[in-house]
Amino acid sequence: MIQVRGLTKYYGDHAAIRDLNFDIASGEVIGFLGRNGAGKTTTLKVLGCVLLPTSGTATVDGVDVVANAHAVRAKIGFLPDTPPLYNEMSVGDFLRFAAELRGVPSRQAAAKVQAAEEKMDLREMHDVPIGSLSHGYRQRVGVAQALVHQPALLILDEPTSGLDPIQIVEMRDLIRRLRGQHTVLISSHFLAEISQTCDRLLVIQRGEIVAQGSEDDLAESRGKSAIELTLRGKIETARAVLSVLPGVVEVNDHDPASALPGEVNLRIRAETDLRAELVRASVAAGLDVLRIDQAASRLESLFIELSRNDPPTADPTSPASTGDAS
């Protein structure tokens, strides 16, 4: 569904995101996790065709977000960090406007609006002016406008932002219900907010993806050693030799943009510290070892920090709701 390669965005001299590479399969629910300012919103805005990247490519359903933004926009529903709501409109009128704006024919708009309101538990608010809604309901309307035209891809930038614990649980449940109907990309800076909702997490820090996988994978990887290796030689040889070493979990390309011609940068996940074995195997295969370094600490510290910022959990069975219209 989404393929991102070498995606980079500069604001002046500052790189908001740098050389991002990831794939998202159709139907997946992906959590985009990182601290404030890590580059989540910039990435989502590029995928939402709101912002152009400085370099790199991103495709949605095989369509390039730069070359054919108009076609991509028809496939996505986008909720920015601040829900784009017109306060003077009623919920129903606003959702109808959003649906027609995304190409839904007028005669089908009422049915689509009804379906979106049902998904987000907004039926009772159909005629209520958006300006008089509570924060929780405004977030729901924000999500409803993103899915009213039933897009293949939903991009939700911090949908739980500013919600209280009970509202977070409710929003989680609402998002869970979207599973199987859309591919969903949700960002958050709190691990607990999205870990229970998502199939897989992408962890971003200072504009770079530092880890990806399920919560269990990431938790497991914290205990494992990550080693960065720069070699001179063929990447195929390096992969073939290193990936079969006992204890090696994964061999990945790392920061290919900074590699000089003839060199390869690799990030290797291993059960234990295998630096000596990796050097021996590389040299034996005719590869020159230019650099070797342990790199586990960054993810470790980030994970701890994201977990420490977890909001308090709420009882999901609580009947109380603070999402009432005020």
Binding site: H70, F78, P83, P84, L85, E88, A98, L101
Partner: protein, 241 residues
């Protein structure tokens, strides 16, 4: 075109739902009524054509001011509140957004302008008016208003806030107004250039006299086109930032 009309319809409804729309509407009618009574009708006897010309002169000033006020919210407000993302992330082209915004403002301005029509019609109580004169005058008002509104749309596209948008729009309109004065203090070929681009004197005065020159219609049409074209480019450039 469907998206343009969709945006225009929502924006026009927003004018009627907002207090500022009604305030501008009421102020234009009130001030225009006072000016019409005090100066256009005035004391003593006047020829009907003179009264109509005076009325059009006062109304043109109000139309320009209200255009700037109506246009300042068009894009700047969307940027302030973040709702612009709804439009820019939807399969809508930037030119459709700009045109839809402009058309909504123009429709509201046209309603305000046409609501002043009762004043020249009052002249019929004691005199006769030429329908052709009135038609030419109102066509001129709408073209002048459309042009200032298009310049205001450009100002609103450039600015982050509504106040800044009003200032930029006022500067653009004033620059084109004083171009006429610049024409008097410069020599050829600059004076001819300044005369040609001047917003009011050369191009609106004939409408006040009941005369329609194709040259003036084309001037206002081109000004609207180029202002909206520039506003579209400004909106497109936002994707780079």
């Amino acid at each position: 075109m469907r998206n343009t009309l969709l945006i225009a319809r929502r924006e026009l409804a927003a004018y009627f739902r907002s207090m500022s729309g009604y305030v501008i509407f009421a102020l234009v009618l009130l001030i225009d009524g006072i000016l019409f009574n005090a100066f256009a009708l005035g004391d003593g006897e006047h020829r009907s054509a003179e009264v109509v010309a005076k009325f059009l002169e006062y109304t043109s000033g109000l139309v320009m001011i209200s255009s700037v006020l109506l246009s300042m919210r068009l894009l700047a407000e969307e940027k302030q509140t973040g709702t612009i993302v709804l439009l820019t992330s939807s399969p809508v082209r930037d030119r459709e957004i700009i045109l839809g915004k402009f058309l909504s403002g123009f429709a509201f301005l046209a309603i305000i302008t046409l609501a002043t029509l009762y004043m020249p019609l009052l002249i019929m109580v004691n005199g006769k008016i030429s329908w052709g004169h009135l038609f030419a005058g109102y066509l001129g008002l709408l073209l002048l208003g459309g042009t200032t509104l298009a310049l205001g749309t450009l100002g609103s596209a450039l600015a982050r806030t509504q106040v800044l948008a009003a200032i930029i729009s006022a500067v653009l309109v004033t620059t084109l107004l004083i171009a006429w004065a610049l024409a008097h203090v410069t020599e050829r070929p600059f004076n001819e250039f300044f005369q040609a681009i001047a917003l009011y004197h050369k191009h609106f005065t004939p409408f006040m006299q009941g005369v329609i020159h194709l040259r003036d219609v084309v001037y206002y049409g081109m000004m609207i086109y180029f202002s909206l074209f520039a506003a579209t480019r400004v909106l497109e450039a936002r994707r780079w930032r």
